[in-house]
Subunit: 209 residues, 2 copies
Amino acid sequence: MSTKNKILDAADVLFANKGFNGTSLREITSQANVNLAAVNYHFGSKKELIKAVMSRYMDELSPRLESALSLICQSELKPTLHEVFSAFIGPLLYLNEFKENGTSTFLQLLGRGYTDSQGFLRWFLTTQYPDVFTNFTKAVNIAYPELSAEEIFWRLHFTMGTIVFTMSSSEALIDIAQNDFNNKLDIAGVIERVIPYVAAGVAAPIIHN
Amino acid sequence: MSTKNKILDAADVLFANKGFNGTSLREITSQANVNLAAVNYHFGSKKELIKAVMSRYMDELSPRLESALSLICQSELKPTLHEVFSAFIGPLLYLNEFKENGTSTFLQLLGRGYTDSQGFLRWFLTTQYPDVFTNFTKAVNIAYPELSAEEIFWRLHFTMGTIVFTMSSSEALIDIAQNDFNNKLDIAGVIERVIPYVAAGVAAPIIHN
DNA sequence: CGCTATTTTAAACGCATGTTTAAAATAGTC
DNA sequence: GACTATTTTAAACATGCGTTTAAAATAGCG
């Protein structure tokens, strides 16, 4: 395996578990059995490495997500919100084929990126992959047209928060749940549980003041 | 104002904006116009300072939250989930009386604590303030008794995620919303919008496989 | 005032970080 | 096989961190 890929593989596990700020280049390179200077040689800087780690996932996810959502938008019959959110399941779980524990690792990274490093990753995602957001908004608008643009905005961000935050601490939560409830669970099980939650949240009736 | 309070005031703003790992003692002490060594003299270590910052809020919030929730639990008629979640509004907004921008700062800190520093803050909160969690679970159980303990567990953590994550980026979101929708909004407005969302999420029908 | 206890201060310590350097090793090509 | 380009390596660099030290300043009190 190439040095570049060894670095990427070591980096995304460590970034997911300990955050971007919380992971040093020395940890990454020693985990990858690679010289410290290799990161700066191959990627230029730590910041560029972070972008590369995220791009590897986004480049797999983004086209699959877009086609799943546009399929829903072009459908004859009006989709339910539950169907809109379920459109995420396939593309997200595909990341597990692409890389071991790819789904949970990616979602953890997403959670890290929103809080770590002053939101520079949010800027990166919204500027590099804007279609994901607009397609998503469009699909929700078809499923629930009574919702104003502003209300969609807020509820989509609530949803992002739920997903991203849950996944960024999913390992700890799965551990607790297995201890307390004797119930085997994996990341797909968590996704199955969170979808009804966010679908109901977005579908909540509008309160007028 | 005492040196100790100057440090606490500077620390919680900086911690909220840049995270615990992302804020150095030198930033805090220079913002507070205080000598660098004062942190270690008055608090012992950076970790103890973090605990002190959180305790200042939790000691105000926790008793108010407990009494609001136990009031709901002891009521004659069965509360709705919306009422359960609304019980948080008063105690949370009270933090604004206690300290300028107290509500959003505290919620941002909460969000930081869940992702920063390997979850030591979650340990701190659950061990130091366990009643908040058990009272909350009890209230939800009364409002929606069909929900199993495990499902309550998951949905409460989804809710925590929604709230905490939204608030940790609330300032950026409020800015965007005001630009895009010409709608004046503050932290109370965000809370008003998120309550129906999480209430509907927790109230979602149970899917049986 | 004079003494003690508390607080503040400037400086340094040891350590970890991201990055750069320049030499060594390897791969690729004619 | 010799020459070049690429990659790897060990070492050092500059910087920032949390913490500690010991002296100076201040406050409290009989």
